[in-house]
């Protein structure tokens, strides 16, 4: 059996190979003002929010759930942070920025808790429970921004999404930290095992004495937090909050990243590293499409097509059918041979 990262890595490598052949400058990285610049760095930087959201989504999906509200949470937290900062006298004050970040993250936790409560407490199917916040969340975000795009001028806040540390975009370090925390929490404590057990066999898990309710609430809480951090990065990157468009369709890209990364929508085993690679594949794909000059009208179609192929390659049964077809195609010829012999 191949390692679970084999196919995601192969796809990523193929995408990069395509770019190498198409335009070698894709790989050029320059140093300017002590910062690294280049397409690859951009992919990491712009892909950071998606990676974060997808990491949270992975755990939710592992419990056989789904969280459609992450895009709205992204918009709400961005709006909350920008609103708080825009009200300040000195928008660059450290205390103000910290307050804004703290408030937004607390809000994202509350929203995650709401989702978890609806799913585990009330017992609503996850897709419906989170659909509520997906729809209502856009409204909340616009309420916060009063329907306007709030622009802020705060270097400190901008640092989160556009700053650099050790020549690399700061957002990459945030992703690394969240990824490390999630991996440690799930692999070094028992939570990971509980998540997999609850997602794989809820009844058996209950009989084994697992408190599945708290496990489920915890994953939605974490997913909300991840979306909240992503919201901060996104809004800080452009120094503004757009309740309408920030984080639009993020839930779909995140679900896609999780699936490409090898975690099944049926719950159970999950692969955080696979998810991160899945998110990178999506981001690389998006960048590649823009760079190869595909007409904007059909970018989404091209993207959808590539995603379809990636998902099919991931599927073991599809690969089997393919190889089987290929093998059986030779049978008539073989029969022919034996008859002559």
């Amino acid at each position: 059996m191949k390692h679970h990262l084999f196919w995601p890595l192969t796809v990523l490598a193929l995408l990069l190979l395509f770019n190498l052949l198409y335009d070698p400058s894709f790989f050029s990285i320059k140093i300017r003002d002590g910062h690294l610049y280049g397409t690859l760095i951009d992919i990491l930087n712009f892909g950071a929010p998606l990676m974060l959201v997808a990491i949270g989504m992975t755990l939710v999906i592992a419990t056989k759930g789904i969280d459609l509200s992450v895009g709205s949470i992204v918009a709400i937290t961005g709006a909350m942070a920008c609103l708080t900062i825009s009200k300040g006298a000195d928008q660059n004050a450290l205390g103000l920025v910290l307050t804004a970040v703290g408030l937004s993250l607390a809000l994202s936790l509350a929203l995650g808790l709401w989702n978890g409560f609806l799913v585990a407490g009330v017992g609503i199917q996850p897709i419906i429970a989170t659909l509520i916040l997906m729809v209502a969340g856009r409204g909340i975000a616009q309420l916060i921004t009063s329907g306007q795009i709030i622009t802020v001028t705060s270097d400190r806040y901008e640092y989160i999404g556009a700053g650099a540390l050790f020549t690399l975009p700061f957002s990459i370090f945030i992703v690394a930290a969240v990824f490390a925390a999630a991996s440690l929490l799930t692999r070094k404590t028992a939570i990971g095992m509980f998540i997999e057990a609850v997602g794989n066999k809820p009844v058996a898990s209950r009989l084994a004495g697992i408190r599945s309710r708290s496990v489920v609430i915890a994953v939605y809480l974490f997913c909300g937090l991840c979306a909240g951090i992503a919201g901060l990065i996104l809004s800080s990157n452009v120094s503004s909050a757009d309740g309408n468009n920030a984080g639009l369709w993020y839930e779909l890209d995140a679900i896609l990243a999780v699936v490409i990364g090898g975690t099944s929508l049926n719950g159970g085993r999950f692969y955080l590293a696979g998810t991160v690679i899945g998110a990178l594949i999506i981001q690389t794909l998006t960048t590649t499409i823009y760079m190869t000059g595909v007409p904007p009208e059909i970018t989404l179609v091209v993207k959808a097509f590539v995603v379809l192929v990636v998902c099919l390659i991931q599927s073991e049964s599809f690969r089997k059918t393919l190889t089987h077809r290929w093998k059986t195609r030779r049978y008539p010829a073989e029969k022919e041979l034996t008859r002559h012999a």
């Binding site: 058996a204 898990s205 004495g209």
Partner: protein, 505 residues
């Protein structure tokens, strides 16, 4: 009665699945105007026979005659067209459609493609009234009625489609007494109208109440066909289980002595019961005692176990464990030192995606919580210990459990619970579907555990096994605890008698 010709005849039916002879040489006849009970334990071939008759499976050998004409049933549609209708245990109608729609779905009265709703409702009401003695509002959704009514609606639908032979597969298993009465009234009425009914149930009382004739299967083979009035209960049971009473011999008992009477009481249930699952019963289990639960399939054994473990909530009575209070959830039961190995190993036991190691530590880790983590190293040590002690194959802690054989999965589940060091271990069919070697190992293990002071509630369909390991046996029949015996009273014959009940044969 014998002069009449059977409406349905199945002759020398053979059906083989990979590795299993599901049916070999089975005969079955059904006369018009009779209720014919098909009896047999798990794996006897009842469901296979019904599936053959309804076209779900094709037969390997043998033939089926309907009204003296050979018929080929290749699909459920064929069966229906031939006049054979089935109503399954789980009502498989559409609960969110109305009663009338359910009855006529696919055959609605129409004009110019438009459904005539008034006509539909009128016809449905008339059908229920005339054939089922049931007058209900047929425009209401099906799910607004109790299961018993849904059952009758399902029968009405089956009769309306085609009505020579009606198969009722465990229709009474989720009905209460009054509802069973109602169903039987309908069955008697249909019987008088000349319908042939094939009836499958696990309730002996019901078999004798309603059936005219009984066919018994065992291990895929035909045991015999009897007139219900000429077959004493005890004989029925021994034929189903496969023990001729005359040939019974006392089995050598492996344990030295019966459980000591003075041991402290680990668990005590007083008039504990749950409507529709098991009627109120008393049961107490002492320290180090093995209590066997005997009874036929569906007699309430599993339901009893689930109540004691808190997997289902009791709606009456009290349950005391040790000195402390009651149990409402599995979590609480585990905290009180109870462990429960479900009979449904695949659905309620193993976690497919996890490894042997993770499956073993799961329950212990669950009771320790999220952060008092058992280190991976310690987990592997534990797993290796149990792999060696229970002889689990393959001996690799990191193998996924779904790749193991049934017997080895069972051992892993046993290990899961032994690791929690329970005061009381509830084993529901721990040896079902596993090979003889593993079976003996598990029995031996159970007895050595009790010697070390663990109490065990042992549930099994295999009487010999229950007799061999138990210090005391409680017998269940038709969801009621009917007898408790210990020491010298425990003989196969007495247990069989208690299982059969009624006229005492």
């Amino acid at each position: 009665m014998e002069e009449r010709l059977p409406i349905l005849q199945m002759k020398d039916i053979y059906k083989q699945f990979p590795g299993v002879k599901a049916l070999s040489g089975v005969q079955f006849r059904l006369f018009p105007g009779e209720v014919h009970a098909l009896m047999g334990e798990n794996g006897a071939g009842k469901s296979t026979l019904i599936k053959v008759l309804t076209g779900v499976y094709a037969i390997d050998r043998g033939y089926v005659e309907l009204e003296q004409k050979r018929i080929q049933i290749q699909s459920p549609q064929d069966a229906q067209a031939a006049g054979i209708s089935t109503v399954y245990q789980e009502v498989n109608l559409c609960p969110n459609l109305s009663v009338a729609e359910n009855i006529f779905i696919g055959r609605e009265p129409r004009r110019l493609g438009r459904i005539l709703w008034k006509e539909l409702n009128r016809a449905a009401a008339k059908l229920l009234e005339e054939r089922m003695n049931l007058s209900i509002d047929v425009s209401q959704p099906l799910h607004s009625y109790p299961i018993a009514i849904q059952q009758l609606v399902a029968i009405a639908r089956a009769l309306n489609i085609s009505a020579k032979v009606l198969i009722l597969d465990e229709p009474t298993s989720s009905l209460d007494r009054g509802e069973v009465r109602q169903l039987f009234d309908v069955m008697n009425k249909l019987k008088r109208e000349g319908l042939a009914i094939l009836f499958v149930t696990h309730f002996l009382d019901q078999v004798y109440e309603i059936s005219d004739r009984i066919t018994i299967l065992r291990g895929g083979e035909f045991v015999g066909e009897y007139a219900a009035s000429a077959l004493p209960r005890i004989e029925l049971v021994s034929k189903m289980i496969g023990k001729e009473l005359e040939l019974l011999e006392e089995l050598p008992k492996l344990q030295a002595e019966a459980g000591d009477e003075g041991g402290e009481i680990v668990l005590e249930a007083r008039s504990l019961g749950r409507k529709g699952a098991v009627e109120p019963f008393d049961l107490s289990i002492r320290k180090g005692e093995i209590v066997g639960l005997a009874g036929l399939l569906g007699s309430g054994r599993t339901e009893t176990a689930r109540l004691l473990f808190g997997a289902d909530r009791a709606d009456q009575g009290t349950l005391r464990i040790g000195d402390t209070g009651s149990v409402h959830t599995p979590r609480q039961a585990i905290d009180q030192g109870i462990a429960f190995c479900s009979e449904d190993r695949k659905g309620e036991g193993i976690i497919d995606d996890l490894t042997i190691r993770e499956n073993i530590v799961l329950a212990l880790q669950a009771s320790q919580g999220w952060f008092r983590t058992i280190s991976k190293k310690r987990q592997s040590e534990i797993a290796e210990q149990f792999i060696e002690a229970l002889n689990i194959n393959p001996p690799n802690p990191d193998q996924l459990i779904k790749n193991l054989s049934g017997g080895n999965q069972q051992k892993v589940l046993l290990a899961r619970w032994l690791l929690t060091d329970p005061k009381l271990l509830i084993l529901d069919e721990p040896t079902r579907g596993i090979d003889i070697g593993a079976k003996a190992e598990i029995q031996k293990l159970v007895m050595s555990l009790s010697e070390k002071g663990m109490s065990v509630l042992f549930i099994s369909s295999e009487l010999e096994e229950v007799l061999r390991v138990s210090d005391r046996i409680a017998v269940l029949r038709d969801r009621r605890k009917v007898k408790e015996m210990s020491g010298d009273e425990m003989s196969e014959q007495l247990v069989l008698k208690a299982i059969a009940g009624g006229g005492e044969g």
